[in-house]
Symmetry: C2
Subunit: 405 residues, 2 copies
């Protein structure tokens, strides 16, 4: 027997721009990115999140006008396509097939670009389509929600739900570019704003105590969606997620751990159990609260820090509990989480603000106790300022004065 | 506006073992690879090429016996599954969905392994399933044909046919390991043996004149499938393909060129136009012959070298012409080839033995002249020693004595 060892590195390099008005009359950013590295007029296809278009009916026209300024330097076989946003676009295979067929008919090649504008779910779907067409056409992501701008739209993963599992089909595929356009947040419902902040809290707890304190300080403005507080929070959350992918040593997650998936073993199952009744960020908030109590009860996290985490989530209008938690099959949820990552069960718990550790087992009885404690903490319904539909049993525990920074 | 530049390298590292009797009573190679890097008993699923199982009915039992020796160190949720081999398994989406569903039901995680044993098409299908399940379960390829052992089973690509295009859906995904088991070739029909040699001829022309001369020297033994000639030829063809992926600087093909796809712009269309009537290697042989004449007529390749290339293909029992060539829409074939790679049309032509260059345009009239010349060269039907079905109009032009090394 003889053996050839195939070793090589594949370099990836893409920009994440933080900006406003990508589809404004004066912006050339999208055109610059579409034309970067091309020698012949590349083809462009556009997919827009239906939820965003409903809130901003002028968007398709503005996108078209932006591309029109590229003149003959671009080819656009079809007008922008609109796909329903949110988790349903990842769960119904007809959306996947329709988008695959559409860009096949457009004749996109590997130097052509799919531009996707929307929330994390739409970006996940479009990313899977782009990554698997001709083994990868270029993808420019324009995330339009807080969650997509501070986390979901920045990474190197895509996926759709299939065979009863969230994100079962997907790949690791870095985008060509990400254009984080804060002006797209203007029409976002406050429930979505708050939901997206859960990932910022999560990464602040694990990586940056000063950022956590800033979120506590600005919680009231954040929960009202005020841009002066929201944009720096998104930016810092995004930076921490980007740093982790760039510097964490395992961008394609070949190991057993996902060091930023704090709270996510519960969150993934809660999303499935509530059939989308909980937004991803809301489910993450509950998961972060639960894991914080578990880490405290395991002697890993000081009690006052666990209190501050729960208090900040509540102050941001995020839920700490949901009735589906009572029905959670803990062993099954842990095994599904383990299966998706592969190898040994590995869960990240905070040990302080900006510090974390990994654990490889969670006691079912401990989870039951923590769930009961979260149920008791639900003291009153949140004040709602946006007039939207009631949130998913979200109730606020005020930040205790002695715990504020 | 501010910008974060996301730059990182992803390292890949996998072994390609050249061996015999992977499923023999004394081999531990498969178990060693399945257990490498695992801490808990990993799950294993197996998919076998139906064509191989038909020729070797004992194979499923031998695979099972090999895995049985792993005892409790492995978990096997299901017995080996058999999928029809050849291009149909890539074209019918039911095979894709059935295999996706099967390994989802098996509960494979990212540290679990799908073992695929078969020809290039089955490995392409299994590779796409493995690469997209949980964003990548491990894949061990055991290529069972000459084509898969010297080329198709060694690389970092996978794919299925969809939306009217060959390999339209696929990814770049290095395998966990490749086990090249020459003993699996024993039952391979001679037509398949010869077809697989076309990729060896192709890479010899482009990269290694001494290897080309060795193929000329051994042509008679190769066309009879004699192991003493076949195994070194496979090994050298494989090494050249592996070197290109490892050292070529673009393993995931982000540029416009595929420097080893000599002859492939014709080959891909001929496979489609003949609806599988031509094997991939046969179509490559025709494409290599055609591009050699085109390179000669463009003044890039000396005429005697073009003669030697055509003569070697013919001596290996490979076709140089097919009636479908007459119906080929050249502009369409070139554009489909360009679209799949992306960017500018880039075709590799030899300039001598072991040397090549890139061209970016092909004249339709020149192709017509070369096709007519290939039709005239078809002088007599090949002698067949395997008693199989007649090949696809394959006819042999003997190697002129003055051109032999």
């Amino acid at each position: 027997m003889s053996t050839v060892r195939q070793r090589f590195d594949v370099p990836f390099d893409f920009p994440v721009h933080f900006t406003r008005d990508v589809f404004g009359a004066n912006s050339t950013l999208l055109l610059d990115e579409l034309l970067r590295g091309t020698t012949t007029a590349p083809k462009v296809a556009v997919v827009l999140d239906g939820g965003l278009v409903a809130a901003c009916p002028a968007l398709p026209g503005r996108v078209t006008a932006t591309l029109d300024r590229g003149g003959a330097r671009l080819r656009r076989p079809s007008p922008p396509r609109i796909v329903p946003g949110g988790e349903p676009c990842k769960s119904d295979p007809r959306h996947l097939q329709a988008l695959q067929q559409a860009i096949a008919e457009d004749g996109l090649c590997r130097h052509s670009t799919l531009v996707a504008v929307g929330g994390g779910a739409l970006l996940d779907l479009a990313g899977f389509v782009a990554a698997t067409a001709h083994r990868g056409v270029r993808l420019i992501r324009v995330p339009s929600t807080v969650l997509a701008q501070d986390d979901a739209g920045l990474g190197v993963k895509n996926g759709v739900n299939a065979y009863g599992r969230k994100n079962y089909l997907g790949t690791f595929a870095p985008p060509w570019a990400v254009l984080v356009d804060h002006s797209l947040l203007a029409t976002l419902p406050l429930r979505e704003v708050r939901s997206g902040l859960a990932e910022a809290v999560k990464v602040a707890v694990l990586r940056d105590g000063a950022f956590f304190a800033a979120l506590e300080r600005d919680a009231a403005a954040l929960t009202r969606g005020e841009a002066a507080a929201l944009e720096p929070a998104i930016r810092r959350g995004a930076e921490l997620h980007l740093e982790h992918i760039r510097g964490g040593g395992d961008p394609f997650e070949l190991g057993s751990a996902r060091p930023l998936d704090f709270g996510h073993w519960t969150a993934h199952r809660l999303e499935e159990l509530t059939d989308g009744g909980l937004r991803h960020g809301e489910a993450v908030a509950i998961g972060v609260a639960l894991d914080s109590l578990l880490a405290r009860d395991a002697g890993l996290l000081p009690g006052p820090i666990a209190e501050r985490i729960c208090a900040l989530l509540a102050a941001l209008g995020l839920p700490l509990h949901h009735p589906a938690l009572e029905a959670l099959d803990v062993a099954d949820a842990l095994d599904r989480f383990r299966e998706h990552l592969g190898g040994e069960l590995t869960i990240t718990w905070p040990t302080g603000l900006g510090r974390s550790t990994e654990v490889h087992a969670v006691e079912v009885a401990a989870v039951r106790r923590a769930v009961a404690e979260l149920a008791r903490r639900v003291v009153r319904a949140p004040e709602r300022s946006d007039g939207g539909a009631p949130g998913p049993k979200a109730r606020v525990t005020p930040v205790p004065a002695e715990l504020r920074p």
